[in-house]
Symmetry: C3
Subunit: 672 residues, 3 copies
Amino acid sequence: MSDHKTPAGVFWYGGDYNPEQWPPEIWEEDMRLLKLAHINTLTLNVFSWAGLQPEEDRYDFSELDRMMDLAERHGMQVVLATSTGAHPAWMARKYPDILRTDENGIRRQFGARHNSCPNSPAYRKFAPQLSGKLAERYGKSGIVSAWHISNEFGGMCFCDNCAAAFRRWLKEKYKTLDELNRCWYTAFWGHTFYDWEEIVVPDLRSEMLPDGRSTFQTISLDYRRFMSDSLLECCRLEADAIRAEAPGIPVTTNMMGFYPTLDYRKWADTLDVISWDAYPAWDEPAARTSMTHDLMRSIAKKPFLLMEQTPSAQNWQPYNTLKRPGVMRLQSYEAVAHGADSVMFFQMRQSRGNCEKLHGAVISHAATEHERVFREVQALGEELERIGSKIKGAVSRPQAAVLFDWENWWAMQLSSGPSIDLDVLKETERWYRAFFDLNIPVDLIGPHDDLTPYRLVAAPLQYMADERFAASVQSFTEQGGTFAAGCFSGMADEHDLIVTGGYPGYLRKVLGLWVEEYDVLPPGQENAFSYHDKRCPARIICGIAHTEGAESLASFENDFYAGSPAVTRNRIGKGRAYYVSAVSDDDFYQAFIRDLCRESGITPLLEPVPGLEVTAREKGGRTFLFLLNHNDSERSVTIPFTGSELLSDHAVCSGDTLTLPPYGVGILETGL
Amino acid sequence: MSDHKTPAGVFWYGGDYNPEQWPPEIWEEDMRLLKLAHINTLTLNVFSWAGLQPEEDRYDFSELDRMMDLAERHGMQVVLATSTGAHPAWMARKYPDILRTDENGIRRQFGARHNSCPNSPAYRKFAPQLSGKLAERYGKSGIVSAWHISNEFGGMCFCDNCAAAFRRWLKEKYKTLDELNRCWYTAFWGHTFYDWEEIVVPDLRSEMLPDGRSTFQTISLDYRRFMSDSLLECCRLEADAIRAEAPGIPVTTNMMGFYPTLDYRKWADTLDVISWDAYPAWDEPAARTSMTHDLMRSIAKKPFLLMEQTPSAQNWQPYNTLKRPGVMRLQSYEAVAHGADSVMFFQMRQSRGNCEKLHGAVISHAATEHERVFREVQALGEELERIGSKIKGAVSRPQAAVLFDWENWWAMQLSSGPSIDLDVLKETERWYRAFFDLNIPVDLIGPHDDLTPYRLVAAPLQYMADERFAASVQSFTEQGGTFAAGCFSGMADEHDLIVTGGYPGYLRKVLGLWVEEYDVLPPGQENAFSYHDKRCPARIICGIAHTEGAESLASFENDFYAGSPAVTRNRIGKGRAYYVSAVSDDDFYQAFIRDLCRESGITPLLEPVPGLEVTAREKGGRTFLFLLNHNDSERSVTIPFTGSELLSDHAVCSGDTLTLPPYGVGILETGL
Amino acid sequence: MSDHKTPAGVFWYGGDYNPEQWPPEIWEEDMRLLKLAHINTLTLNVFSWAGLQPEEDRYDFSELDRMMDLAERHGMQVVLATSTGAHPAWMARKYPDILRTDENGIRRQFGARHNSCPNSPAYRKFAPQLSGKLAERYGKSGIVSAWHISNEFGGMCFCDNCAAAFRRWLKEKYKTLDELNRCWYTAFWGHTFYDWEEIVVPDLRSEMLPDGRSTFQTISLDYRRFMSDSLLECCRLEADAIRAEAPGIPVTTNMMGFYPTLDYRKWADTLDVISWDAYPAWDEPAARTSMTHDLMRSIAKKPFLLMEQTPSAQNWQPYNTLKRPGVMRLQSYEAVAHGADSVMFFQMRQSRGNCEKLHGAVISHAATEHERVFREVQALGEELERIGSKIKGAVSRPQAAVLFDWENWWAMQLSSGPSIDLDVLKETERWYRAFFDLNIPVDLIGPHDDLTPYRLVAAPLQYMADERFAASVQSFTEQGGTFAAGCFSGMADEHDLIVTGGYPGYLRKVLGLWVEEYDVLPPGQENAFSYHDKRCPARIICGIAHTEGAESLASFENDFYAGSPAVTRNRIGKGRAYYVSAVSDDDFYQAFIRDLCRESGITPLLEPVPGLEVTAREKGGRTFLFLLNHNDSERSVTIPFTGSELLSDHAVCSGDTLTLPPYGVGILETGL
């Protein structure tokens, strides 16, 4: 056991290190540079399966032993990966069932990564076996702070093993073919199944359309669920093997935010800690990045780990622009501001070859400490070493929540109609941005999450809204909560079957209206409505509604549905339920959300300053207010309380002005 | 035998009804609503194969019996579909030859619809077998007004069964390999075939290019012919089985207008009545819809059926905009105006699940009569019940014809060069629009159709023009007809081999000129010519011609072929033949066609008013003049004769003004 | 032996003739027309394999005998093709291994051309066998002036035979798996290979990305090399078979300029003469066409053959615009100006069918001598007959060279990052255009070519720069040469492994600077620098550099690297090395190259006139200066020496003005 072990309270700073790509003489120099940069955590062993298991019956841990020894000698804690994110070439040759089959039914060959079929018997045997051996060997080393299962799980497979597993999954879910035929609505297009074996995977050879939509959404939606579950099962098999050998060390896998094919909310139970890799493109708005951090924290229901980010440039974007000076620090604190208890990088030393060779790293190809990027990493390391433990473990307690649910996203992605411009993620971001711009923190929750912690719950485009969700909203509003739904919400149940009897289905009662029809506006066309005397555009889709108890707050101005309500409010018990029957612009959503917050008694953390993001975390009776200047020029704010600024370690008084330089960060600490 | 049977003279009003998607308690409520809406015709059994034949040796007609009984009890006539538009899942599993193979050689799995290989032995056995049984069981029910074979036949297959059938088809066509080698011009690129078995299908693995063009047009063109014939043969096998059991009831299949892969003109002989499904996108110009109706009527050579349209929205367009109030009625009358003897919808009740769940229906998901769309359907039903029988059976007798031929379309689609902007359908529409805007009705005919009923025949882009067609044009013009051809006409013979000796090949004599070269103008470049002192653009392609008897009516202004003729007229016998040696704009075509009509003694039905379409049908010595206001504001016309307005049942006198509201319709009846 | 044999000094004028597509009666008429047009050379037998070898064990040369006899009787020399550019249908059926497999692993069927797998045992047996038989039969005919192997070699295959051959090729290259694992950097993503058989082809099923990039560039780069070598080996097998039977007749194959998948520089050794097919699109700038001619001449290191061009229109472009009058002559002389010793066309007589039927020809579908295109061909033929032999064999001796290397091009194409806008060919063209506009001839050389013949060597984007190249540049500059490199040069070694220790790697010393980082500028963003008081944009990519001996000639103006050098000069021995640390615009490159030329003592051939291209060839102490007016209006130049104008056969004196009509050509002859 090493006495170098990083104390529990230390803020994790580090990232992926792949010494197997380098001769041993480099390793010691790397440690010198990483210590200089205040790195305390190394993610090891991410892609070493081929090295660890050179043959089916032979394992070779000698190189990993040396790496672990290196880490220990230099006082680094280790996030130990299981290496199963890419299988060995020999395994692909010997057990071709491990290779995935694409949506054209074409089986892959060995290559790339994320390449194992999740229902491959070979993969399900060898991957947990390796994880177990790693846990057995290194679980008691004292330097493993977390297990990192596989790497960026993702993708889909359509092979015969997956088809067979899909049928087993369906049997488990539906029990009888009659029930499956009912829930899949197979009377449509003569799809009735008489034998489980008749069911095939919904790929481009069957139900999938070239644009990713589906002709049979009920089947395709279940396949998405099944595929997410299949990968989750692989993750769980490894987690089980690890926990059996090394109980007590947290297990994670690195997620990817709004990743399209995995229902991460369902994954959260299997993992001890949520971690994710943040790779905003050069033109990604800060609100999108923040929303993704909020999603990750919300599914964790506690602080999370920032597992990867680039210190400088990425390589797989069309344009891999450098993060300007200060931006890496700003984005690191943005993660922390939203709940991260670590700042970690991909990677420690830049590769010489293959597709990530142009991806930035702490130690560049030049490999000196005399570089801008290294200096910025070093400075941030020094800073986090100083202040990180104060923040670590602090929690976020938003009073508002925005719904985001993978199944709902999938259902709209698979849908044929009403408009290719109507996208769950875009609508979620539109509503989120209003909260963001108003300095009002939010959680991103699922429809079956508990609503009672919140005063305000917004459902930007909750197309799928089953009875259980409707009941939850009913109860939430009756008890004083404010609920707001966007257009095209409430259409379908959990099977993606339309709820008949009038839109918005099970939400009709709580919203107090009936939407008779939906009109679709092609690009360039818009309707309008006035909200508080301000003219707002109505775009993409307009619901033509009749109030049934709700009051109309704004009406459409044009077309044959001029006069029909565009924004409504329904009073229920002590609360209210709003409906926005169109897609509008940022100005509208900001005004609308501001009103809802005011009505719900939710106040901004600070008065909004454009481009200056504000979030809060709490711990031990103290509040940490993060101020993040995303502008390339300075901004000032008046501080409304007395406390201290953590980074400068200066006391502040109410009324003081805090000036943040371009891309600058401030952390104000005060009592709750 | 039911005495509810719809009298022969009743105008058909109804559409697809899929009660198998609903529990029986819904059925009676549906009948109540449909009767309210004046529906008299139900298309049943479109996608029930899986239900009708749950196993290879077992048929179950119990549910269809109940549906038929329901229809009969409610006095509905039935268009009875054969359900073969989608095969059962068990059949795909047991007889995989029924599954299609795509242009990459990848065999499909069970899924979607239109999924049967037309040369599958299993399909060719089971589909007619089912049709025969249906005819046997329901042919004498007295309520079947028409048989509806399969559904929207279409698509292609490239499997081994198709390859073998293609070789048989070729043997039948060419008799000897020598003849095939000659007509396919296989000396090019060393393609000589010495054995029939060497011939493979022209897919992406052989002659097809990724953009759909071909390296070997002769082969690809024959494959299009063969594939259209293969599907037609499937249709014919079902029709034969039906006629054997239930003679005397008309047989149809629902077509799709300018559907790219089926030569519908060739199909017309097999069917007793032509029917089609009209799904204009929100931005489709009225001229395009009208042109499609004209095509369907022209191949029928008599009135046709509008088998499907949406009452409100579609679902598979990128933007599924609602039909504005009045537009469904307007488009229904547009169909009638061009020869439809029915107005039918897809569908009666909106599905709950899968890809058509967002497609509009007469009975919506809300399922009440208190909806705009329902009320519009109801009002139209009332109207058609009142006036439909007067119009039913009335015929159209255009004096002008525009050529449109699938083989010619295919040949240009497959062609490598001269310009990707030169498209048969676009050019056809360009010329058609001139007639449309001038209120001059036209037929859309094939090159081997009889030209003698017409005074004017236009060939917008008749690239393929064989000797037979040229002789027909020669005789037509000699006897006084006016013929006009667009640029790039007359290039190739029936094998898509260029006619040597000078363009435009066999048309050189009748047009009285020789085109030495074709210049291609990329986007943004244009030449010009003056027609009646008006400057007209020349775009896309310009023929550089020398007159050989023709006179030049307009010359190119620019470039090295300045002065060469752009528009020519050749006098032949009592007639004339025109050539337009470029692509121009709407103003030109309208002026040009106006001149040709004047010269041919063809007068507009009414003086043109922009956006106000006028067509005529005749019956029993009476003319029905349809006035269709496609504008969203009212339009007035002066009535030039005495008669009556059918919809209002008012008498009108010559000189009266008829004012049509936005999207309004008028039907003037008068003596011939 | 014929006494019609074209004398060695005669300038070749002719092209592809495919009489097998025509009945014999046409052949004699063709000869009449071709003689009229002064054609003296026919390329025969390009696509006749199916005719020559109708069965595996039977050859039939009767038709080719007749063709050869025809040529001989009419005094034509023959470029005799081997017909192996498209295999017979029977061969594909009998030996399916001859069919290629695409990047999805899908095996093609018989069809199109370029269709043989280069590692097919059947192809490698039958193709050289046929070539040998042709050489045996016609090698001594006296009229074969060159052998034309196959036709436009190209494309790739990913079949199992290719995979096995790839593994053999790799064993030959790397000897051991350890060395392969090292050079392929397989520690990345756990790709270590333990058995040669584990290696698969890098297609879409393994390492290839849908956009053509690669996840494992080291493997993909080797596959490109291997595939180019495989096709070269096929070419060599045919060449060997021919040379064994018919020594002394030059062997060629028709290349395609900047063809993406063949490393033509490596092919040059196998061929006796380089020939290529020039098909500029209607909007290709003259500089691009000239650059391609220069590439072909540079790899030949002597005059080359223009094997194909169209006299009028192409067919496979999106827009197949006619060459304006004079342009075919101008482009023919452009080829000659850059080193062509022939002017040849595809094709002599226009085909009637299939994908080239709309491609222009000397004898059109009308087949008369009374056509513009024919007359232009005839006039040029007359002219070349008069002056061609004077120019034939004259060489080009540029004092400047621009680097262009296929491996470097591939490496950037395969690269993931830094910017999709950074393209080797575009950057090469950008620099080339400066030389072109300045009337300074250049060679296009590879990094391992001898630099000593040049005063100035430019490397626009030499991403791959190994030690050998760096040493060559070092020595070149020390001895007085001027070297200039563009941004992102010097990154990687010959294995596409980044050279560590600081960019630009092995070039760091000679350029005298260190590039710390590269910033990428998305479209619409730019930085700037001032060069000689002129503000120049910096786009796409900017290197942030520190001089290490070099002097900064211009600095970036904006962003966090404002002030860092944009253009540098390092003095080394008697020479200099420049670096341009961004992508700029034409004005900059012209100013910069002008300065470099001035400094290097390189003077323009003539003072530049926009759109008037000038090149030189030398022979027997005489210089031929080609003046090519690419403008559509006339241009005049003052002649700086005394000599004669070859085309007009007029003497010229220094100070005379030569006026060239639109698209006009002048050839000035003078002493060296």
